[in-house]
């Protein structure tokens, strides 16, 4: 591993993300730390997978990440749609996440009532669009 190889990994990752964003891929981060799992994040993940199967969508990518920090709002997800500010949702259950799936992920209308905030925290950035 040299600096060039390190750079190459970084660039190829960014290229990949950029390509996905250009193609309109919607990314959904499910926050699955121990705290998230304990409050039901696995069911949220399964529900999203199930809905994706039912609706036969191919442009949604689920990503499992760690805890987003706000334990009292778990389980949480973040919906990242290209061209729009990412939206963090909290205190979800299977029913709510289904609503978000159709309204926001497929329809593009954020579910305001379940949203915590939009945007990413200060040092975080969406690799590929900055």
């Amino acid at each position: 591993m040299t600096m060039d190889e390190l750079k190459k990994i970084k660039e190829s990752y960014i290229d990949e993300r950029r390509k996905e964003i250009d193609e309109g891929y919607i990314s959904v981060d499910v926050h699955m730390g121990t705290c998230g799992i304990a409050s039901g994040a696995k069911n949220i993940h399964l529900a999203l997978l199930e809905e994706m199967g039912k609706a036969a969508v191919t442009n949604v990518k689920l990503k499992i990440t760690g805890c987003a920090g706000l334990c009292s709002m778990e389980p949480m997800i973040t919906v990242l749609i290209p061209g729009a500010s990412p939206v963090k949702y909290g205190k979800l259950d299977v029913k709510k996440v289904r609503e978000i799936f159709y309204s926001h992920i497929l329809g593009g209308h954020p579910k305001v009532e379940y949203a915590i905030g939009h945007g990413l925290e200060s040092p975080q950035k969406r690799v590929g669009i900055e």
Binding site: V57, G66, G69, M73, S85, Y102, L106, H109, E113
Partner: protein, 595 residues
């Protein structure tokens, strides 16, 4: 515009069904059959698609366009129009019921606004099992910089400049520790990451290991390079299965990419890391006990000196740091020690991750610059006390820490200021308590914890704590005598002065700090035989105060053993013989009529 339809989703909730009395499924089937699409377009039953007051609605997939169903006729028309041209539909496209603008920006959400992320910068953001993603977020850049552009002395120098102090609790300057470990010329040397997070109410290390394990590995490799070690161990509690899994995956991936193993990043430096799951002993979070545990011996602290940096694991120089300390290192190397020094307070630089729990609204992980005052953490970030209760105390530093009152909330959180007030920074657990907590009971809880977790090696901790626990139990059960307070204080000072390791020396802290700030509660227990917070069951009379009672009978309804009898418009009667003192009636009574 819709160019193709593969599926149609419709809201099957009862709300939509009854709003217009339209049988959506039947209608859709009928219309599709008429159009000749029949089974070719599957229907998907879903929950609410957009907004109930605009229902019923359907959604075309792919694309996700939503249409409102106004009347049956209109709907059939729409579908027919749509399918004949697959172009402009005649049904109105739903306008956004509520706009995304109503969602606040994350920077204006209280919980996130005042945080400054260094250690947690990748929280909830990257996939911990994807090393490429970590690299894309400047991962392993610090390691590369250290290995290629800096000598070990320079790395140590940079850490010294940063002013970073150990995040495990004691706050020993990390740079000095690394320097000491580097100076000894005995080989092999070791690096150990302490992930044995055992304090009740602390979970920040777990979160770092779960969501950003590579940052910990990177910090350890840099430490290995700086101190001249070739082997690292991560000691993680076995109660953290997800953290273990993430770390294991991370190590395998890092080896594949050449960040671990022989010839790290083609620089000729060898370093490897192994995981050692702990078996659940609190004392194994103490550095020397931890090392014995890794060696396969019984985890008990030993006398210092020699310090671990001189003679640690297997009698070799060992550099042991906390998870959070290591996670800071890559950022310090990338951005420089001066950058880190500018964050935080004078003698405590950088940020600290706290796990904020207890009676606050926003429970979670909080990373703030050192020197932020407790009020900001509890009331701004934490959102204040949950429900209508009042703030009573905040417990910092777990069983080795202490309780502070509202008067101390202005204190900036640094290693030194907290120590002076009788609490400690500890690993960073903040437990907020409201007025439903009895401080004597809290002291008993932590003392019980220390009694359970004492390794038993030295007498003051093993016997002294038991004496303290017995005294506290006496007070709680209403058998307390005035001299018990003196016994407690004397015993606490003895244990502090004569215990062998940090665990024992700090164990009386909860008792001492509650004695200092909540003396009146101890007095109420001893002299008035009364528990002001009504927690200690033996000090509750379980009698009905007729002045406060409104004869509502709720207490009688909730009593699980039917000890309270009540007739309409009569005062309830409590049979003390039957009562099991479960406090259900106290919780149910809105008028505090049960005393």
């Amino acid at each position: 515009m819709i160019s193709s339809v593969s599926r149609i989703a419709y809201c099957a909730s009862s709300k939509c069904k009854f709003r217009k009395h339209i049988d959506m499924k039947g209608l859709l089937k009928k219309t599709l059959d008429e159009l000749g699409y029949g089974e070719r377009i599957p229907l998907v039953e879903t929950d609410c698609l957009i907004s109930c007051y605009q229902g019923p609605s359907i959604m075309f997939l792919p694309g996700g366009k939503v249409f409102q169903v106004l009347t049956e006729e209109n709907f059939t028309e729409t579908l027919k129009g749509l399918f004949s041209s697959l172009q402009h539909p005649t049904s109105p496209l739903l306008s956004e019921p509520r706009t995304a603008k109503e969602i606040p920006g994350i920077e204006s959400v209280d919980f996130f606004a005042k945080q400054r992320l260094i250690v947690l910068r990748n929280r909830g953001h990257i996939d911990a099992e994807n090393i490429e993603e970590y690299i894309a977020h400047d991962g392993y850049l610090g390691l590369y910089k250290a290995l290629t552009a800096m000598t070990p002395e320079e790395v140590v120098g940079e850490v010294k400049t940063s002013g970073l102090r150990g995040r495990g609790g004691a706050g020993f300057p990390t740079g000095r520790k690394w320097d000491e470990a580097r100076k000894y010329k005995t080989y092999p040397k070791y690096v150990i990451c302490n992930g044995d997070e055992g304090d009740p109410g602390a979970f920040m290390d777990r979160s770092v290991m779960e969501s950003d394990p590579h940052a910990v590995l990177e910090g350890m490799i840099i430490c290995g390079y700086a101190t001249g070690a070739n082997q690292g161990y991560i000691y993680v509690r076995a109660e953290y299965p997800l953290a273990l899994k993430m770390l294991r995956t991370a190590i395998v991936k890092a080896r594949e990419k050449g960040f671990l193993g022989r010839n790290v990043m083609s620089t000729g430096f060898d370093f490897d890391i192994e995981i050692y799951p702990g078996a659940g002993a609190f004392v194994c979070g103490e550095s020397t006990a931890l090392m014995f545990s890794v060696e396969g011996k019984r985890g008990m602290p030993r006398t210092k000196p020699p310090r671990s940096t001189e003679s640690g694991l297997w009698g070799k120089p060992t550099c042991l740091n906390n998870v959070e300390t290591f996670a800071n290192i890559p950022q310090i190397i990338i951005n420089g020690g001066d950058w880190f020094r500018r964050i935080g307070a004078e003698d405590s630089t950088g940020t600290k991750v706290f796990s904020l729990t207890g009676a606050v609204k926003n429970v979670g992980l909080v990373e703030v610059p050192m020197g932020t005052d407790l009020r900001t953490i509890i009331f701004d970030i934490g959102g204040g006390i949950r429900g209508n209760a009042k703030f009573k105390a905040v417990q910092l530093g777990g069983p080795s820490g202490g309780c502070l009152t509202e008067d101390e909330l202005h204190l900036p959180v640094t290693f030194d200021s907290l120590q002076e007030a009788g609490a400690i920074m500890g690993s960073g657990g903040i437990v907020v308590m409201d007025d439903s907590n009895c401080m004597v009971d809290v002291a008993r809880f932590f003392t019980q914890f220390c009694v359970d977790e004492s390794c038993g090696k030295c007498v003051p901790c093993r016997v002294g704590l038991k004496v303290m626990l017995g005294t506290l139990e006496k007070i709680i059960t209403g058998k307390g005598e005035p001299e018990d307070l003196k016994i407690l204080e004397k015993q606490a000072h003895h244990i502090q002065a004569t215990s062998h390791c940090g665990l024992g020396q700090a164990a009386p802290n909860p008792v001492l700090s509650t004695l200092r700030y909540f003396h009146h509660e101890y007095e109420a227990h001893i002299f008035e035989k009364r528990c002001p917070a009504r927690v200690c069951v033996d000090l509750i009379h379980f009698e009905i105060d007729r002045e406060k009672c409104t004869k509502c009978g709720l207490c009688s309804k909730v009593c699980p053993v039917a000890a309270i009898t009540w007739e309409k418009k009569e005062y309830p009667v409590l049979d003390k013989e039957v009562c099991i003192r479960c406090k259900s009636c106290i919780r149910a009574c809105k008028f505090k009529a049960i005393i």
